[in-house]
């Protein structure tokens, strides 16, 4: 359990994090979203005890950094931004060092090391200095280091940055495979990633929490959510579509000829439209139910002016 209250971090006069409050319970996989410089990394640095907050309170598993820093850090796995490591060490040496510091011993240590090396697929580069590895491998070494001691809390700052699509998929799989009782916090710019692996989304902008709910709720904020778009093979009279029950608005893109029908709030219009199209034998080429456009919602939430007070 992570409990954050009124957390702020100021650099001189710049408010990097401004009065954040949230709780994260076991089982939550939180996607931490926000534009660059929104305060994501700063928040993570405070959660892991690297940065002291200017004000506010962080309680992790009933402990505070002021008195129990080591005890907290033992239960956290952290991948810092850019996945820093000791570049002159080989992957093998580095993971051994981490295992030492994490207090892993004997058979448990061996099995954890082999398990993690297998999971993150590092077997081929074990004896190469980390400095000589590609960006993707470096990131994976950082991940291996973070999950080595099987922590209850995993904080990953941009875990898929610089990975190719296959590796990204692999990392998402890895996160999904972790025990369901863990807390995982992932920061990312990639919106699809959030819907793919997270069960909770937090969006911060200018150091403030702007959104905190499920990915589905985020999608529902889009005006495209549950809208129906269709494309005709050739021109036909479609004015009737706009008159259908539950349809609030019809938009036609003149360039592509794509017709989008927006539902009234809370209404589902797909089946109505589908019926209408079949009845009239309209020359419809494609008929799609829109999922909601996350990038649009994201832009909307992060650029919106927030009234103070």
């Amino acid at each position: 359990m992570i409990s954050v209250k009124n957390l702020s971090k100021h650099y001189h006069h710049f408010k990097a994090v401004d009065d954040l409050s949230f709780d994260i319970a076991p089982g939550n996989i939180v996607g931490f979203l926000g534009p660059n410089g929104a305060g994501k990394s700063t928040t993570m640095k405070m959660l892991t005890g690297f940065l002291p907050p200017t004000s506010g309170d962080i309680v992790i598993q009933d402990k505070r950094y002021a008195s129990d820093a080591k005890a907290i850090q033992r239960n956290i796995g952290y991948l810092p931004e850019g996945a820093p490591a000791y570049g002159d060490m080989t992957v093998w040496q580095f993971l051994h060092f981490i295992a030492d510091v994490r207090g892993l011993k004997g058979a448990a240590r061996k099995s954890r090391l082999f398990d993690v090396i297998g999971r993150v697929e590092l077997a081929d580069v074990l004896n190469r200095p980390i400095d000589n590895l590609s960006k993707g491998f470096k990131r994976r070494v950082g991940l291996a280091q973070a999950i080595l001691h099987d922590p209850d809390i995993l904080i990953l700052d941009e875990p898929t940055d610089g990975l190719d699509p296959n590796q990204k998929h692999h990392v998402r799989q890895l996160i999904e495979d972790l025990s369901k009782e863990k807390i995982v916090v992932i920061s990312t710019h990639i919106l699809e990633e959030v819907t793919a692996v997270c069960n909770r989304v937090m969006i911060i902008a200018n150091g403030q929490l702007r959104f905190d709910d499920t990915p589905n709720a985020l999608r529902h904020q889009s005006r495209f959510c549950n809208a129906v778009s269709l494309k005709m093979s050739y021109a036909a009279d479609i004015s009737g579509l706009a008159e259908l029950e539950g349809v609030e608005e019809m938009e036609i893109d003149r360039k592509t000829g794509l017709v989008t029908l927006f539902p009234e709030p809370g209404k589902h219009i797909f089946h109505v439209i589908n019926e209408y199209v079949t009845q009239r034998r309209l020359p419809v080429e494609t008929l799609t139910l829109e999922q909601g456009r996350l990038d649009e919602v994201f832009r909307d939430i992060t650029t919106r002016e927030v009234s103070h007070g």
Partner: protein, 244 residues
């Protein structure tokens, strides 16, 4: 305490993974040889001791120790690995001590590798080996003081060159604080008490007796206190500036 050992081991192997340790040891051995034989006139003196060898150690350490220690914290900061280290269950004190010990062991190793000199004087005459051993221990203690200062300077900045220059300057002040270079600045206005205090900070004065094989309590204590103070200063600096 186990953590100190893990950090020390990591740093120690890191010295050998990069050429730092090899270069340091090679240069140290070469320069100490050159100083001892060509400038210290070991043969011409016709005495079976290693005093010319030890007398040059403060000047050797003045440049070599800051060069070895400059990366210890500056590099962590530059590469961002400090964030990794500080979020592992390791306290800053353990990290500072671990890094210090690793470098200090390298210095011990360098000193041990000067054993051919010891063999030479034993071959040529009958030196007092107890004195030589005491002088070796004294030299190692003094190198620790240089190292603690350099570590602290490295903690101040992410730039290794800046760390090196700062460390050389501060070490130099400590080396010569008993001589006119520093004392002249105090003489016109400071009282005798202050003057004596400043003079007593001198590495040279404290090492003088040690080079002759006298391990006096106050000299040993002095270098130990210098180490503790500067290492504690490093801890405070890192605590406050780790994320800058």
């Amino acid at each position: 305490m186990a953590n100190v050992w893990f950090i020390t081991r990591r740093e120690f192997s890191s010295f050998f993974a990069t050429p730092v340790a090899y270069v340091f040891i090679a240069i140290f051995l070469m320069l100490s040889g050159v100083f001892t034989f060509f400038i210290g006139n070991l043969y011409e003196r016709g005495q079976a001791d290693l005093i010319p060898f030890f007398n040059f150690h403060p000047w050797l350490y003045l440049f070599l120790v800051p060069a070895m220690a400059m990366r210890s914290w500056a590099e962590e900061r530059k590469s961002g690995s400090i964030e990794l280290l500080m979020t592992l269950p390791v306290s800053i004190g353990e990290a500072v001590l671990g890094k210090f010990l690793a470098a200090w062991f390298i210095l011990a190793l360098s000193l041990i590798l000067t054993f051919p000199l010891w063999l030479s004087v034993n071959y040529l005459g009958q030196p007092d080996n107890g004195i030589i051993l005491a002088a070796y221990i004294g030299s190692w203690l003094m190198s620790g003081a240089f190292l603690a200062i350099s570590t602290c300077m490295s903690a101040f900045t992410r730039n290794q060159v800046v760390a090196f220059i700062l460390a050389v300057v501060v070490c130099f002040l400590f080396v010569v604080s008993g001589s006119g270079i520093v004392l002249d600045a105090f003489e016109p206005w400071a009282g005798n008490l202050l003057l004596d205090t400043v003079a007593s900070f001198s590495f040279l004065t404290h090492f003088e007796a040690m080079a002759k094989g006298v391990l006096a309590m106050n000299d040993v204590g002095y270098f130990l206190i210098i180490m503790v103070i500067w290492l504690y200063a490093s801890l405070v600096v890192i605590e406050n500036k780790k994320a800058d």
